[in-house]
Symmetry: C2
Subunit: 275 residues, 2 copies
């Protein structure tokens, strides 16, 4: 199979930057040394992993992309930009028939889908690119749908730890609460126990020192009324590599769909998991 040309938009942001070494190390991909940026960016270039990326402003991008597409047929875009850019970027990708993986959250999600459905390109839209987490959520959704009240009478405790810069409660944990509710456990998202203290993260939780600044640890503990049964589900993620891996799997999936002739379709990570 020939290499897939990829452009990463959102440099020098954290998640976008994490992708670069993975793409460079993977022989299935070739990287475009440029990245879409906002109108207010002052820099013209940014360096990452020894590669200089040209930063392309909105006013310049239509002219610029035509040239890129001539030399890189089958280009796939990855978007880890900003909520305010989500919809304009989607319209840009659609206009130029560039399939894209939208990892940026926020914006008008309905308009986002609509701009793909009416286009001749396709996209994977996913608020969480960690395939295994998405798979676990699908398992929970399956149980919630098919086995209402499976855990009726059980108590639930949810503990999560993230880097201290994350102010809000884990979105993954909040999504999981809905499933537990369907499974018969009354539980409010306010009861999720958040840990943001680096000292406790290292000494009580045992989170490796090098990941105190970037991790997502979750534990759900269910106990039966009489205390005789205990279930515990844990998913601990250190760093952002798992999101990079999932993003690249989504790129490969999308390229395959385009080769098969798909047009105007919106996919989720569940579709990527199903392969």
């Amino acid at each position: 199979m020939s290499k897939i040309s990829v452009m990463v938009n959102g440099l020098p942001g954290n998640v976008a930057s994490t992708l670069i070494p993975h793409i460079l190390a993977d022989e299935n991909f070739s990287l475009i040394p440029a990245s879409l940026t906002g109108p207010d960016t002052l820099e013209e270039q940014v360096s990452c992993c020894g590669v200089n990326f040209s930063l392309i402003k909105p006013a310049d991008r239509d002219a610029w992309i035509s040239d890129v597409l001539l030399k890189n047929s089958g280009l796939v875009a990855i978007d880890y930009t900003h909520p305010s850019a989500v919809n304009a970027n989607a319209i840009f990708y659609a206009k130029h028939q560039i399939p894209f993986v939208m990892g940026t959250t926020g914006g008008d999600r309905e308009a986002l889908s609509e701009s793909i459905l009416q286009s001749s390109t396709c996209a994977v839209i996913a608020p969480n690119m960690a395939k295994q987490i998405v798979g676990f959520q699908a398992m929970m959704a399956h149980a919630a749908e098919n086995f209402p009240d499976l855990f009726k009478g059980y108590t639930l405790r949810i503990e999560e730890s993230h880097q201290s810069g994350k102010a809000d409660t884990s979105g993954t944990a909040k999504a999981m609460v809905r499933y537990f509710n369907s499974l018969g456990i009354p539980f409010n998202v306010d009861a999720i126990e958040m840990e943001r203290n680096p000292e406790r993260q290292e000494n009580v939780w045992g989170i490796p020192a090098e990941h105190i600044s970037g991790h997502a640890w979750h534990t759900y503990t269910l106990r039966s009324e009489d205390g005789s049964v205990c279930f515990q589900f844990t998913h601990n993620i250190n760093g952002r590599d798992v999101y990079a891996r999932g993003t690249l799997d989504a790129v490969s999936f999308l390229r395959q769909k385009m080769i098969m002739g798909c047009k105007g379709q919106v996919f989720s990570m569940i579709d990527v998991l199903k392969g």
Copy 2:
């Protein structure tokens, strides 16, 4: 709703005995003070929770049951007997149109199903009556079927602890291995780590002293190749109360199905979970 008449066969066996206090404490059930037994039993009675149960031998049971059924319409049988009795008991229940919950393992399982399908009664057949475990297995089965290779590249560790009298490896853990294989992890059942040492169970595992003689603890740990992701699933059961609860839920489910006019149907615990 009127009470459901229940007979428990397999007294004074461990699991059958565990059921008695649950049935006596539950106002939805009324208990027949008798239990089917094998041809070689010497005792004529057995006492459990202050109730004297007549032990009914195979030669006497046809005459005996006719009288019981006259006084207890809607009787449901629970079978926790012996592998060698499974098929003869099923034929007996079917002949007398008694719906039954078969918790006994072994025997000819195909013949077991056949004897129900050709009868005008119904049965719940389940090797594991713990509803939450069955539900978790169904979640895993769903993932294995829909997301092949979700955990490709991950390593797996399975640890289980049971009372020292249990010689073989956990059947639940072995069943789970098949799902993990489908999810992309090569793993042989021989690699399941068994704990049967009471001292380590108490001091290393933290299993309550009163449950060293009867417990089923399982932990599955999955780690990504680069070590950045860890998933852990644990289900710890102390004592046998959870199986009793599940068995009685199966009885209620079966009674409902009979009232609805079902005939010749075999149900699983998954059907009971779906309600």
